[in-house]
Amino acid sequence: MTPASAFLLGVRALLPMLLGVIPFGIIYGVVALASGIPPLAAVLMSSLVFAGSAQFLLAQLVGAGAPVLLAVGAVGLINLRHALYSASVAPVLHALPRRWKLLLAYLLTDEAYAAAIPHLLREPRSPFAHWILFGAGFALWAGWQLATLAGVLIGAQLPADLGLDFALPLTFIAIVVPLIDSRPRLIAALTAGATAVLLVAMPYKTGLFVAVLAGLVAGAFMQRRGSR
C-alpha cells in the first residue's frame, strides 16, 4: 500500500456517506439563515466547528437566544462521543508526528471514523494506515464545506417536500445498524433510543446525554453478564 492508494481507499469508503451528508449540509445552511445567522458566519461555522449535528444544534440555540456558555456546553455534550473515536484511533496514530495527529483529530467525525475504522482494523500495522483516515476525513470535510455553502446560497429556493432534513437520520441508520451484531449492542441501542425519546423534553438536549450514558451502561452490563 502507498500513501496515495491508502488515501483513495479512505475517500472511496467515505463517498457513499455523502449521499446523506450533502442534503444535511444544505439543510444546515437553510436552518442557520432562518435562525438569523449572517451568511458569512453560517459558512465559517462549517470549518471552525466542523460537526454536523452540533452545528445544527448551535444554530438553533443561537436563534433561540440561548446564553453563550450554555451553547458551548451543549456543543461539548453532543460531541463528547468523539472522545471515544479518539481513544479508538489513538493506537494507530501513536508513532506519527504531531502535525498529523492535529490534522486527523480535526477531521475525526462520525462518518470519517465509521468509513475508515474497518480498514484501520484490517491494516493496523501498515505504515500508511493514517492516510486511509486522512482520505475519509478530507472527503467528508470537502463535501460538508461545499454542501453547507450551497445550503446558504441556494437552499431557501429548494422545495420543502424533498425530505432533505431526513438525511442525517438516514445516514446515522446506515452507520449504526451494521454495527449492531450482538445482543449487548442491540440492548445499548434500544436503551439509548428509548431514553432519548422519554427525556426529549429536558432543556437544551441534556436528555440526549443521559440517553447515551444509559445505552453505554446497559450495553456494558449485558456484555459482562454474557461473559460470565
Binding site: A174, T195, V200
Partner: protein, 107 residues
C-alpha cells in the same frame, strides 16, 4: 449577536470540539484509560447515534406519533430493514429517500 461575537462563539465551540477529538490521540502512550472505559468504547457510537436518531423517527413536534401522519417513522423502518439486510450505506440512504418520496406522494 454581532457577526464578530458569533464567530468568536464558533471558535470557542470549535476549540472544545477539537480538544475532545484530540484528547486520547494526544494522551496515547502517556496515560492508560481505566478498563471500564475500554469496555464502554464499542458501545459509544451505537448509543450516541441511536439517541440522536430515534427521536427524529418517533416524535413530531415533540409528540409521540407512529401513525400515517408521520412518514419519517415508516421511512426509518424501511431504512433499518435495508441496512440490516444489505449493510450497504448508499443503498440504505437511497432507499430512505425513495421511500419518503413514495409515501409523500401516497399520503
Amino acid at each position: 449577536m454581532s457577526q464578530t461575537a458569533l464567530i468568536l462563539l464558533w471558535i470557542a465551540c470549535g476549540a472544545l470540539t477539537f480538544a475532545i477529538r484530540y484528547s486520547f490521540i494526544a494522551l496515547e502512550g502517556h496515560y492508560q484509560p481505566p478498563s471500564w472505559f475500554i469496555r464502554w468504547l464499542p458501545f459509544v457510537p451505537i448509543a450516541a447515534l441511536t439517541a440522536i436518531t430515534v427521536p427524529e423517527l418517533l416524535l413530531v413536534a415533540g409528540q409521540f406519533d407512529v401513525g400515517t401522519s408521520n412518514p419519517r417513522f415508516w421511512v426509518g423502518l424501511v431504512a433499518i430493514a435495508v441496512a440490516a439486510r444489505w449493510k450497504n450505506t448508499l443503498l440504505t440512504i437511497a432507499s430512505g429517500f425513495v421511500a419518503f418520496w413514495i409515501l409523500n406522494w401516497l399520503l
